[in-house]
């Protein structure tokens, strides 16, 4: 029983933590997405930064490229925004 109570409070705290950072996490993903688009925009016809900038930082951008890809293919961005503001 103690274990269940412990798990309940743990879950409660986790959920509270998640709710409190939900908006920042959304904002962070969008910033990372924007950052990746600025660097790799030439792939979709956007003007690109001077070549050496992209070449220098590209090797360190696994996370941003991953976020950009999932924003395009997997994520339901509108659903996320509606959820964020408790709409629907």
């Amino acid at each position: 029983m103690w274990r269940n109570i412990f798990n309940f409070f743990k879950g409660f705290t986790e959920s509270f933590k998640h709710q409190s950072t939900e908006y920042i996490e959304f904002e962070l993903r969008e910033l990372e997405n924007a950052f990746a688009i600025l660097i790799l925009g030439s792939l979709i016809g956007l003007p690109s930064p001077p070549t050496p900038i992209a070449l220098k930082i590209l090797p360190h951008m696994q996370r941003e490229i991953y976020v950009m890809q999932s924003r395009v293919s997997d994520d339901d961005i509108f659903g996320e925004i509606l959820g964020l503001f408790d709409i629907g």
């Binding site: 933590k17 998640h18 409190s20 950072t21 920042i24 996490e25 904002e27 962070l28 910033l31 990372e32 924007a34 950052f35 600025l38 660097i39 930064p49 001077p50 070549t51 050496p52 900038i53 070449l55 220098k56 930082i57 590209l58 090797p59 360190h60 951008m61 696994q62 996370r63 991953y66």
Partner: protein, 300 residues
Amino acid sequence: MKVFVIGKGGVGKTTCSSAIAIGLSERYKTIIASLDPAHNLGDVLMTKLGNKPKKVVNNLYAIEADIDFFAMKYLKELEKSLKNVYRYLSVINLEKYFEILRYSPGIEEFSVLEAIKEVIRSNFSAFVFDTPPTGLTLRILTTPKTTLIWLKKLIELRRMILDRRSAIEKIQGKILFKIEDEKIEIPTRENDDAVIKELIKYKNEIEEIQKIFTDKDTYVIGVLNPDKLSFLEMKRAKDVLDKLDIELKMIIVNKVSGDVSLSEIKREFETNVRLVKLRDREIRGIQNLRELYDEIEGIR
């Protein structure tokens, strides 16, 4: 002291810059570098030049910078850092895949900047650069400024990202990013973030290059002929230089045969003007160039 001689193709940039270098070499250990992919500095100085400084006379050395060499050198550096990250590709001969980068837009400008940096690092007191025709030269001079605009914006955006990550970390603990089965800790501080460190390091490098052009001891000298075309091109070049905060410190009107209105040129360019008379023979060789310097003198 650094001197950049700019102007339309064929106005006599190489001749004037050679004369200036010879004059300066009487007071300073001087190097003249041709940055024009179509070199003719060796022809003017009447000696064979290459990609290494060669002594021409007493205190004067000259080099015809091989832009392809600097492009490859520059790309080798990039390749090294890419190799570290994409190490697994080395088994299938990585080098040939990155060779294509040589043809990326903008690489030529960065290669010329690399050549300028390399020359300035060498052990001389005065540096004279004979530049390519106006169009390419202006692109080269503009490159540091546009690169800095990008870098400043990207650094600002990166700081916002790190700021948000750090806020999340404070509440939820370390942020772990899962790629397939691997969990990677996401950096939340500038000291741990390779991206912002690269951006800041590169910004410092570019600011150093930018300083070369805007320093007080840098002379940008425009060469034009007494004709409308080279005059108009220099006017446009001056507009660009003004936007880049680069001062045009002297105008040399080369190959003057008749009357030229000095006051109009002075008024237009708001700078020192020197007139160089049209000779009845080609100006080549140390002696002839030294005589030409007497007409230009004023750079100290």
